[in-house]
């Protein structure tokens, strides 16, 4: 298929407040898209609409050949679109391993209640997968730590690892490096991207850090005032003077950290 995600004329209004309007995007499979824009520009609203947390006021969203407009999140997740959150949605009362087991077991049991009652939480298959996921995201050393005690970076990684439990085809990351120290941002994204490599996943990530966007994205969408004002390669969009004026700021000399990872 040539388009895994097709968004047409998408819009969202809260009463008289227009949070998003006229969004048209076609996403080919396996593309990695960076979404930039100031706070309030509509990026998270956009992500929320695709993932079913918000119902669009207008427009349609097609995933492969399925119309997912307005469907609830749990259906969209089961269909193959997963996401991570600005504030990691993990289970603080459980250990990292138990978090991963829970996510894997849920992904294995189908959506029906009957299946969920009959499927045991701990089975050899799910525990093996959970172990593998924990190792893949390099958080094995935190395996038995309660999720409430984790540092922010590990929380983010766990959040993303859990999102992947259902083997999604599309993954949306909402500010994956927010709250992470500058020196560690690239390390985190390296881990995430290598975990995603060769899994056939299309990625869209919202980011404020332009260095991250430049390094990891194939394509950049710039949001402003609820709509997309630029759509192109990282170089095109980030060098665009209008984008620099409205969103990204002038391109400074590459930071030392970014240079290390170039």
């Amino acid at each position: 298929m040539s388009t895994i995600l097709a968004i047409q004329n998408l819009g969202k209004a809260f009463g008289s407040l227009v949070a998003a309007r006229d969004i048209n995007i076609a996403v080919p499979p396996l593309q990695i898209i960076g979404i930039i824009g100031a706070n309030g520009a509509g990026k998270t609203t956009f992500v929320n609409m695709i993932t079913g947390y918000l119902r669009p006021s207008s427009g349609t969203i097609w995933f492969k050949d399925i119309d997912i407009t307005g469907r609830p999140s749990r259906e969209i997740s089961r269909l193959g679109i997963a996401r991570s959150f600005q504030v990691p949605q993990i289970f603080p009362s459980l250990t990292v391993f138990e978090n991963m087991c829970a996510a894997t077991a849920i992904a294995h049991a189908s959506g029906g209640l009957l299946a969920q009652i009959l499927t045991p939480l701990h089975s050899p298959a799910t525990t093996a997968k959970a172990e593998a996921a924990v190792e893949l995201f390099r958080i094995g050393s935190y395996r038995n730590a309660l999720a409430a005690t984790l540092p922010q970076g590990v929380r983010k990684l766990l959040d993303i690892a859990m999102a992947l439990a259902g083997a999604p085809r599309v993954l949306l990351l909402d500010e994956p490096t927010s709250g992470i120290a500058i020196e560690e941002k690239f390390d985190l994204m390296d881990v995430v991207m290598s975990a995603l490599k060769n899994r056939g996943i299309t990625v869209l990530f919202v980011e404020h850090d332009m260095d991250i966007v430049e390094r990891y994205a194939d394509r950049v969408l710039a949001f402003y005032d609820g709509t997309v004002i630029a759509d192109g390669s990282p170089v095109e969009t980030l060098e665009n003077p209008r984008i620099q004026e409205l969103i990204s700021g002038p391109k400074l000399k590459m930071t030392a950290v970014a240079a290390l990872h170039a």
Binding site: T44, N48, Y53, F85, Q86, V87, Q89
Partner: protein, 298 residues
């Protein structure tokens, strides 16, 4: 036509009663996010206090106006005592804990207070009939209304008006409103939240006790009156929205009139109507009629 009028008057009287018992509860919940089950105790202690103290007063033959004043005084004293004991002595220990846990703490306090009533005043029933006699009856068209009832409705309306005014136009009222909306934000602006909590709880307690005091002449003051009141008060507060005085007013009116209609037209569904209305409102507006919805979480 007569029935309609009777429903209206009965409804208003019942609404006055409901408002007076609910307004303290909603204030405490709005400011402190605590659903105070012991509010039923405030009501009960008010009724007992009034029945005994005010009964004695009237029996001595003192002037009637002073009697009514005494009722308010009794409410304030009992409310102050109970409120302080509960808030400083008990609630202070559980602030910050889970909402439902705090409710259970107030339930435990309620149970203890109920038995204390029995220890203090025994299982007998008391009655306070003097204020009713003094107020006399009033002929309104074909109906004879109790003067006390009319006074009750006027009193409740006054309390509602002054509470709304105070919340909107006095410094303390505005502080309360701020804390209702966002406690942390208020604290970061230098509001002494701990003091506000104590004051609110004591105020809510006084209002609850006042509810019991003014209702004492209309009921048989006996064991168990606090128990029925708390669920009714909660229904009113849930309908109106937690923390909203205006909501308690509207909620009390709705419930009062619906219940009066049920009593006159189909008595079997009296209790059903009250909780049915509450369930109905919650279906369409889970946060009640007058509170804001929760902002976005992710």
């Amino acid at each position: 036509m007569l029935t309609a009028f009777a429903i209206l008057t009965d409804g208003l009287v019942y609404a006055a009663y409901l408002f007076l018992v609910a307004v303290g509860l909603t204030l405490i919940f709005g400011v402190m996010k605590i659903l105070n089950v012991a509010h039923g105790s405030f009501y009960a202690y008010g009724a007992y206090g009034a029945a005994i103290a005010v009964g004695v007063y009237f029996d001595q033959g003192f002037p009637a106006a002073g009697g009514f004043l005494l009722m308010v005084l009794v409410a304030m004293v009992i409310g102050l005592l109970l409120g302080l004991i509960l808030e400083r002595g008990l609630l202070r220990l559980v602030y910050g804990k889970d909402e439902v846990v705090v409710v259970l703490v107030t339930y435990a306090a309620f149970l203890i207070l109920e038995d204390v009533i029995q220890l203090l005043w025994g299982p007998n029933s008391y009655s306070l009939y003097q204020p009713l006699d003094v107020a006399g009856n009033v002929d309104v068209g074909p109906l004879v209304l109790s003067g006390y009832d009319i006074g009750l409705v006027v009193f409740a309306a006054l309390v509602a008006a002054s509470a709304s005014w105070a919340l909107r136009y006095t410094r303390w009222g505005r502080l309360l409103t701020v804390v209702i909306f966002d406690r942390e934000l208020a604290a970061s602006f230098g509001v002494n939240v701990s003091l506000v909590y104590t004051l609110t709880f004591v105020l809510g307690a006084m209002l609850g006790v006042l509810g019991g005091v003014v209702m004492a002449p209309k009921i048989a003051v006996t064991l168990g009156i606090g128990v029925e009141v708390i669920v009714l008060a909660f229904a009113v507060v849930a309908i109106g929205g937690m923390g909203s005085v205006g909501g308690a007013f509207v909620g009390a009116l709705i419930v009062g009139l619906c219940r009066a209609a049920a009593v006159h037209l189909l008595p079997q569904i009296e209790l059903f109507v009250i909780y049915g209305v509450m369930a109905l409102v919650l279906v369409f507006r889970p946060q009640g009629l007058f509170t804001r919805a929760q902002p976005r979480k992710i």
